[in-house]
Structures are given as C-alpha cells and as structure tokens.
Symmetry: C2
Amino acid sequence: MDGWILAFDFGGTKLSAALLPLAALSESQPTWTAQRRVFSPANGDARDDLQTMIRLGHELLAGRKATAVGVSFGGPVDAAAGMVRLSHHVPGWENAPLQALLAAEFAAPVRIDNDANTAALGEWRFGAGRGVADLLYITVSTGVGGGWVLNGRPWRGHQSMAGEIGHMVVDPGGPLCLCGKRGCVERLASGPYMAQDYNAQRPNADAPITGELVARLAAQGDETAVRILRRGAWALGVGIGNAANLMNPQLFVLGGGVTKSGELWWDVVRQTARATALPEVAVTIVPAALQDDAPLWGAVALAYRIYD
Amino acid sequence: MDGWILAFDFGGTKLSAALLPLAALSESQPTWTAQRRVFSPANGDARDDLQTMIRLGHELLAGRKATAVGVSFGGPVDAAAGMVRLSHHVPGWENAPLQALLAAEFAAPVRIDNDANTAALGEWRFGAGRGVADLLYITVSTGVGGGWVLNGRPWRGHQSMAGEIGHMVVDPGGPLCLCGKRGCVERLASGPYMAQDYNAQRPNADAPITGELVARLAAQGDETAVRILRRGAWALGVGIGNAANLMNPQLFVLGGGVTKSGELWWDVVRQTARATALPEVAVTIVPAALQDDAPLWGAVALAYRIYD
C-alpha cells in the first residue's frame, strides 16, 4: 500500500500537522513519519492559519503526493458540506470551504470534522476504543463535548451537532450556564466552572485558582474542593448514565485535563453513571489513550476511510 | 413484486396479525389484505400465545406462502439473536427463540424486535416520519420508552437496550421512580405516575383517577392537575432537549395515550425541549400518525427490509 496521509489538527491557538504512510495503518501502533506543531499568531486570522496549514503540509510532504488529507477543526463544522462554520478563537473562519480549499491545494480528497468527532474516531481506530463497534468519546476540559462512533462510523446528527453532552441538563435547579440553562453537565463538570465555583465559595483564598488546582486541593483534603470536584464528577456521571440509557453504546472514553483529577473523580463518575443507567445497561468507562493527539489520529482515520 | 409479508404485534394482553402484499409497499398509504386481533387468555402462557400466533398466521395466509415475517414484541428482545428475553405480562417467554420457531413454522425469514423499535420503524416508513433520515420515536403511555431510526436503520445499541429515554434523570431531587432513581422522565411524565401524584395530593377526591383524567381535569382548570400535567410535559421536554443535544436527530415522533392530553401539554413539551436544546440544534416534534398500529407497520418494515 503506497501513499501518504496528511493530517491536520487546528485547535484555535495551535496547529499540528503530521504525515503517515498508508502502510503504517496495518501496524498496531503506527508512528508519524514527520510531525510539526506551531502556535497561531496572537492577532491572526483565518487567512494566516490557512497559509500555515498549506505551508506545513508541503513541508511534511516534501514533494511527495498526499493520497488523502484529514482535518480536525476546533469549532463547529458542517462535515457533509466540508465547510467550517466558525472558530470561537480566530476571526475569518465563518463559512470557509476548507475542504475545497485544501483539496485544490493538495490535489487530493480531503475530509474535515470538528475536534470532538475526530477525537472519537481517533480513539476508536488507534486508542482506547480499538475493537469496539461503538463509543461515545467525551472531552472534559475547558468545556465538555463529545463525539460518537456508531457501528464503526462517525455519527454527526442531522445538522452535524450531535455529541453535545456538555449541555445536557442534569440538575435543573443548579447554577446558571453560559448557554442560558441551569445545571448543564459542562456548568458543573468543566475545569473553569469548577474553579469559578471554588473562587466564589472561598473569596479569601490567596489567589484565584484553576480547575487543575481544585483537583489538587481536593486530593489534599480541602473540603470545598472535594465538594466541587465530586459535584462535577456526579454531573458527568449522570450525563453518561443518561446517554447509556438512551443509546446503549459499548464504551465511553473520557479525555481532557479534568480526567487527570484522580481516583475520587473517576470513582464518582463511574458510580454515578452505573447508578443512573438501568441495571440491564452495561456502562464501561475508560480513560482516553491518545489524549492531545486524538484529533490528529482521528484526522488520519477520517482521511483514510473517506467517511462522508 | 409477488409475495406476502406476515406481520405480528404481540403486546402482552392482545395479539394482532396482518397480511400485506409486497406490491402494496409501493403505495403511499398501503392497506392490509387481512387483519386479525385477539386478546390473550387471562392465565395464558407463552405456549398459548405462540400457538395463537401460528394459528392466526396460517388463517391469514390461507395457503399462500409468506415471503417474510416481522414481529413486534412487547418486552425486551435480543433482535440480533432473534430471542425474546422475557414478557412482563406473560410467563414462559424467558429466552424464547421466537425467530427460529416462526421461521420453521412459516418456512420464511423472520425478524423480531421490541415494540418501541418497531413503532419507530413503522412511523419512519409509513407514518409521521416518512422521508426523514433519522428520528427518535417516544411512546408516552403507562411507561415512557423510545426507539431510534438512524440513517434509515434501527439503532438498538450494544445490548439491544437503546431508547430508554424514560429512565433519563432530569430532576435528581424529584420523586422516586420504580427503577430506584429520582426524577426519571417516566416517573414524572407517564400516565399512571401522574395519576398517582394527583391522588396523593388530592386524598379527598371522590375516587382514584387515571392519567387520562388528570389531563381532562387540567383542561377544566383543576390547578393540581395543571401543575402535574405541566411537570410531566416539562420532564419529557427536558428529555427531548437533552436527546437533541446528544444525538441531533431530524425528528421526534411522540405517540401513546398521554400525547392526547391537549394543547397545554404539547406547548410545554415543545417549549421546554426548545429551551433545553442548544440554539443551533433544531428540535422538531410531531405526533405519531399510526398510533396503536405503529408496531404492526414496523413489523412489516422489519420483515421487508430484513434488517439485522
């Protein structure tokens, strides 16, 4: 199998690109031929990012021809149309025909999708979900998002909006989320919101803390931190249990910074999900294997299989 | 297109059977060649029901040969294995190989599934969901259950347990459900639970009332009934909005007795679902078209397409 897959992961603040020979896809642990990572300029726009993608791609290819190109984009994407809807970080991406632009540039078929869907596909094909038929990948980080693989294919929904487990309401009497609702999973479980709640409850603390610090303080026995961390894990667990009842996937894969919060967090997530799902519904939850590289590996899978 | 589809709907207390010529499937509103409906004996068991199915099938066929047989079963089914797991109404159905038994009897391919999944398929192929790619069908009746069609195919989940929107938790501080959790959609939105809550709040009412009566009393302005009906509709609306965020299906189809509760109920369901889904996520909710016949029509679709 001759040929090369060119993969991009555009995250908003940084851009990764990698090249993989098709032959490597039959290996159990394929490795990149070459990989590049650059940070976006502070005041850049979509045009800058696109030029950087094109430049990195050609540098990696070094005269070779790409068989297929896959792109993970950190923002809403209409995967079927090959269009970026917008970037929440960089101006100028509104309705950009990224698939067509890259297809013309690299003279190869291109597929694009949002980072939650590509991460799901990456974990399914190369990571913690290898060998299962279907999974929900959930990233718990500055936000909470998800991506589905069902029967070995991405499930994106009617408007490419599926996977928004972060805005599932699990506590209608809970605190207000930026989305306007109360008690969304993201409002309770994401790092910045946990930090915000800690700061609000401990106004005399030395300095504002982060989601990561909440987990560290909880590990040290800080009661406020323990309560906030448990509540976040509980919210995510209810979300997972609800998703299990609704879709009955074979596996849940959790990635993102908050999943590094330690055993307490994992225990509460697993126990709550188990208690929320019906007894007959299996709930298997595992940590992501690829972490930050999941979208890039997912871009490879996306390009290779040429999903529509 | 010569040939006949034999369809069964076994609901626990009654059994329907119908015969349809394959040629009728190209009509926009096909009608049965013949249909039979019988009630199960009060103290019957699975053996009785099976004999009745076989007898009705042969009566309808009257010597003709079935091209394919589809069965909707009112209870948990392992569709892939063709096995009934059990009936909650009739003893003896535990692990019955219904697909194989009927295939031997009628010398034709047989497919079986639970009634929520077949109703979803029936509405998709012949009812309110014609022409859409994917939908969630929800029955709101003595229980609350659901069935998925995704990309024109049933989605049953890893253990044939998908669709349990009735046991999605939407109010963790809410009343206790028979499943052991608090604030499940079913606990708040199903007919018997609404009736139970009304009776508990109006202990001096003349006689215990039903879910249907709660809706009628609400229409007459009874404040307790209005509050209970609104709460049920709210719970279902949160469940639908959560499902929309998670799966982004094109359509939600609602059937079952509680959906006859009038405009107030529909308004609250629709408004709550709309408010729960993200602004970018479309939520289209329509009443079922086939009602009680949905599982039987779904059995036709199941047989005809021979889904696995």
